[in-house]
Amino acid sequence: MEEKGRIGIPRALMFYRYFPLWKVFFEELGWNVRVSDGLDKRGNIVYLEDSCFPMKLLVTHSLVLKTQVDYLYLPRLVSLHRHHMMCPKFRGAPDIVRLATDGMVPILDDLVDLRVKGHSMRESLLKTGKRLGAKEAESKQAFQKAEAFFLNFQKRWLERINNLPIKQVFDLEAPEGVEEPEKTFRVAFIGHPYNLFDPDVSKEILTFAKSLGMRVITSETLSEREINAQLSDLSKEVYWSSGREIVGSLFHFLSGGVDGMIFLTSFKCGIDALLQELIRRKLKRSGKVSPPLLILSLDEHSGREGLMTRLEAFRDVMEERRHEFNLTYVRST
């Protein structure tokens, strides 16, 4: 098929979940998909306003793409769950980028709002397809293929995240990677996907964790039902969907299945700040039996030393705890 033009997808925010879906959809419609590279060491971060680091990265990546593509794809992600909302910054993201790029490139920003009929991810993409001149049948077929690919990608998620270098997890052409040797610890890494999987935000903390003998577990593997089950006894409803995923999966792992949990937060994220408090209260009630939790706060500060120190110490905590429980076990038999 002849190429119709280029669509740019900034390597930021929900790229770190939906990229496989979006990419296959547009490619099926005959468009070339261009993704911005990661920041290099001197990567200048654009400060449009004093927002959170991931939002600054969105602007930075969009600016890189603006002269290279015919369209920027940046759906307006208001809600990705029937009853819950995304952070309000997602609602404004396309407008912020439009402002930052001086309108130099048209932005495909069809609404996704699962609380309202007619605004699912599928319907949003079909509308985008129409804007790009595709017939409805073509778009429907493209979405079907994209969805199948996406589901398959999610199925192989844990293998990808553990076997591939972090930079290649969303490189869909990357080979499957080499099976890593058996790890000593199972560690749940929890947080917004754009904090966890963007090496510019998380400073390759997952790479370092793997080298310390940790198998990475994430909330991507939990069903919505498993997450919701954990949230029913909260005194106040968490209405941010990403917040629900974070708290729900953390509470889920609290009851077992992992040796430790690491919550990566963005220094300026209001949602994360509230969640930390919820989590602390729950931990206080659950006492010593639950796996240890490490909360790491990330921002533009580029030093990794502090993160590594904490991660190493956390591994030691998990190791001591394991010894301790083995001892208890021996005594009781």
Binding site: K41, L293, V317
Partner: protein
């Protein structure tokens, strides 16, 4: 004599922090043979060499070392330089040192040059810890700075704090604002003692509310790190928590002590220690930026007697691989 020392087994622990370097040598029974506490003055390599020279002069050049461990924020640099058998993070090192000394400890407060941490222990096991993240208020370097600004020595600083009759309120949230506040209080006419006393109070509150936020602080409390020397901070902590602090005899050396104990426990077969003679050789580093890929790593080479002996900073490890 030296043969006898060999049989005993001696272990060297080195803790290179942001402001100071600490070194200890212990024997098989954990007895402290020598300990020292030096300021880095921005030159960690030279300071480590200087430390080795001092240790050699105290223990004798032929002092056998059966294991070396490094800790602190520059633990990797120190390990490359001296040839370490074990590299351990400072949180684990500090807690190991405390558990042996005060087995019942439940909370360790550690305030150093630029780092402050809290470590929670339960039945001799570390269960939780936290370090300061985006704020170094209340750590040693700020106290140093303020002492210098007031024209008094850091030793005097702690003593003066105890003489405060009516400690003034000082903003402890941020060092910049704390300083502004202090200058203002001076200009109104408060005494130096009251201002220093107030500063200690507010820094302790800041530490407890930031670093220790949400942590279950239970006694017995151990207070250590260089700042434990500061009577003012110590008293402020005790006032705030209404409980006395246990202060280890070698409160400033605890990281190094923990490291030495850990390497003794690990029992390395043959130590990789390069010897005290290292202090007499030329040790330098040089850096360059690699342009092989987009990472643009800042690679650092360590040279001993003009020979590259180690290399780090390359994410892909292309340079590192050439050195064992």
């Amino acid at each position: 004599m030296s043969r006898y020392k060999n049989i005993m087994g001696n272990f060297l622990g080195i803790d290179v922090g942001s402001i100071t370097t600490k070194m200890v040598v212990i024997d098989e029974s954990h007895k402290l043979l020598a300990g020292l506490y030096l300021r880095n003055n921005g030159r960690p390599l030279e300071t480590i060499q200087q430390g080795l020279a001092i240790l050699a002069s105290r223990l004798g050049d032929d002092q056998a070392i059966d294991g070396v461990a490094t800790t602190g924020s520059a633990r990797h640099l120190a390990a490359y330089l001296v040839g370490a058998d074990l590299i351990k993070n400072e949180i684990t090192a500090h807690s190991v040192a405390v558990i042996d000394l005060f087995p019942k400890t439940k909370t360790i407060f550690e305030i150093g040059g630029q780092d402050s941490k809290v470590i929670l222990l339960r039945e001799g096991v570390v269960v939780d810890f936290a370090m300061n993240t985006v704020c170094a208020a209340g750590t040693g370097s700020f106290l140093d700075q303020q002492a210098a600004r007031l024209g008094i020595s850091i030793e005097e600083f702690g003593r003066l704090a105890l003489e405060a009759k009516h400690p003034v309120r000082v903003a402890g949230r941020c060092t910049v604002f704390a300083e502004t506040d202090m200058i203002h209080k001076q200009q109104i006419g408060h005494s130096v003692e009251d201002i220093i006393g107030g500063l200690c109070d507010s820094l302790v509150k800041n530490y407890l509310n930031n670093v220790c936020r949400g942590k279950e602080l239970l006694p017995p409390y151990v207070f250590q790190g260089g700042v434990a020397a500061n009577q003012g901070i110590r008293k402020a902590l005790e006032r705030e928590l209404e409980t006395p602090m246990l202060i280890p005899e070698h409160f400033g050396l605890m990281g190094a002590l923990g490291a030495a104990k850990l390497v003794k426990r690990a029992k390395p077969g043959r130590s990789r220690f390069k010897g005290f003679g290292l202090s007499k050789r030329s040790c330098t580093t040089r850096g360059f930026e690699c342009n092989e890929c987009g990472n643009q790593c800042e690679v650092v080479e360590l040279l001993v007697d003009e020979q590259v002996v180690a290399c780090w900073g390359d994410l892909c490890e292309r340079y590192r691989r050439s050195y064992p």
